[in-house]
Symmetry: C2
Subunit: 352 residues, 2 copies
Amino acid sequence: MKIAILPGDGIGPEVTAEALRVLDALSLPGLVLFEGDVGGIAYKRHGHPLPAETLEMARGADAVLFGAVGDPECDDLPREHRPEQAILGLRSELGLFANLRPAAGYPGLEDMSSLRPEVARGIDLLVVRELNGDVYFGDKGERSSDGGREGWDAMSYNEAEVRRIAHTGFRAAQKRRGRLTSVDKANVLETSRIWRETVIEVAAEYPDVELEHMYVDNAAMQMVRSPGQFDVILTGNLFGDILSDQASACVGSIGLLASASLGERQTEFGTFGLYEPIHGSAPDIAGQGKANPIAAILSLAMLLRHSLGRETEAGRIERAVAKVVASDVRGADLGGSATTSEIGDAVLRALS
Amino acid sequence: MKIAILPGDGIGPEVTAEALRVLDALSLPGLVLFEGDVGGIAYKRHGHPLPAETLEMARGADAVLFGAVGDPECDDLPREHRPEQAILGLRSELGLFANLRPAAGYPGLEDMSSLRPEVARGIDLLVVRELNGDVYFGDKGERSSDGGREGWDAMSYNEAEVRRIAHTGFRAAQKRRGRLTSVDKANVLETSRIWRETVIEVAAEYPDVELEHMYVDNAAMQMVRSPGQFDVILTGNLFGDILSDQASACVGSIGLLASASLGERQTEFGTFGLYEPIHGSAPDIAGQGKANPIAAILSLAMLLRHSLGRETEAGRIERAVAKVVASDVRGADLGGSATTSEIGDAVLRALS
Ligand SMILES: CC(C)[C@H](C(=O)O)[C@@H](O)C(=O)O
Ligand SMILES: CC(C)[C@H](C(=O)O)[C@@H](O)C(=O)O
């Protein structure tokens, strides 16, 4: 079982280190770890945010454990050298088309949300975001027009692209509460019309899942008014970017949220994927022991489940984390004073 | 002073009727009203959601007072005949490029928001949304691809388009708290890169306004976490659609929110514009006297201010509305039992 470890920038390395301590404590046999540079640090060392060696390492692994990328010192670089290009490059080069972002309130943490506690408490949703298409990866550029310089981007989805992510969404809904909300802007976009028609076609194979369609503006509204109504939200790359961040904010404890980006390739043990905390590189608190490693540790749990077929260990980690979150060991993000490694220690204790 | 009245579908006619009672009570000299069909009702009567006569009537007026469009009976029509096309057609045909959507909490109504009262109370923002460009009005269509049928839409902005809406945004910020947040996705979109560069260029003319840039995913997150941080949000058509609805939901009382869509044309008295409540046609409660007419009445106030140069009357209406909202006359949307016309009566009483 080969795992590529890409700690990246900012708090990426410190939270990834805690996840690796947890992995170590599980003493899984036959595990091989590789570590590579990615993001701003990779640019500084190798002249590119996603060096060829890093990409090859990821390609050769069964799973990638990713920290975070983003570095203010790189803000003025041309776009192709900026740290974010590393994650976009990994998604497209590795065919990671399915982004799973669960957002659920932790009992006892309702007061971290800016939503009313009774609203926050009811959140238990999964955003399934398409990650290889849409306006992200279409042609784009600058041209001149009557109105001066013009920036343009081509948005599109074809049936095959929608079909494969729709299957991911419907299968996830079957394992959850059996409800799927497909979000689009079919009253304006042709891309969304094909999206909606294809989702309806795929739905016929999942008679046990209840499908509804929602325009993205209404979805953004409903996510504030009554986020508890959602089970699985299936959507494209751009709307998924916006709605999944909004959902994380509704839960209120971004330091606890993990994500999986899955490809089509099946490994010996499961599905190839990349796993990352959703909190980003947080350069302002990097290196100070203030970062909450729980999201990284939960990303590891997702990795064990989806890519290594280790459901038992994934469950063990999640139960240990729930115990720690319910305890008085809280990081700065949750109003406490526990350091990154103290939180790691607590998870390790709860695990044994 | 010519006003085109387009009541439209669902609750549009009943809320517009109350706004007209208020207009009548002001006894403005030299006012001429025209009424036209728009939306589903126009399709049923004339075979098109935006009949040529309606468009001509709107074009010839100094301002348009718009109710709402949307009718479930039209859901299965081809897109070009659906009610929403009427509003898109009016925006583009009339050159209404600047959509102003204020969202502010009303004292005493904090409990209507699903945000914590102390968070909801702090909201006082204005979304300035570009309304004539972006992926809404680019080329679009369906083509065949390796992956089957493919829907596509062209997104773009040129410097001239960004410049004129940026001026609207900066001028609005000058009259408010002097802060402008420009929202884009410049880490992924070329459209956003031109957007951002042009906004920076325009900012040089407004040294008294503090400009910040925010990615749309972060903006959706911040809008939940601490919406009180925003003064003016300047953004494109698509992101503005999503964020302005999200902002309305944060305030919690959608039945109270109005909007203006302004063009470039100057009339004798102000700027030509179209004014509408943001709540939509709400077909489920149409014709039952349950709709809250306050948003329509506040749309009239915006009309008087921006298109007819009647600041005094606009202020009078707004103060009357504030009195009614603070009183115990509440519509069903705010947990009360006052009917549409009872709320209208209360505003009329407060006005005199
Ligand atoms: C960094 C950026 C390109 C990326 C995206 O937009 O996908 C991020 O926001 C995310 O959601 O992972
Ligand atoms: C009806 C629809 C086309 C419209 C839009 O997307 O602009 C609406 O959501 C709005 O915001 O006015």
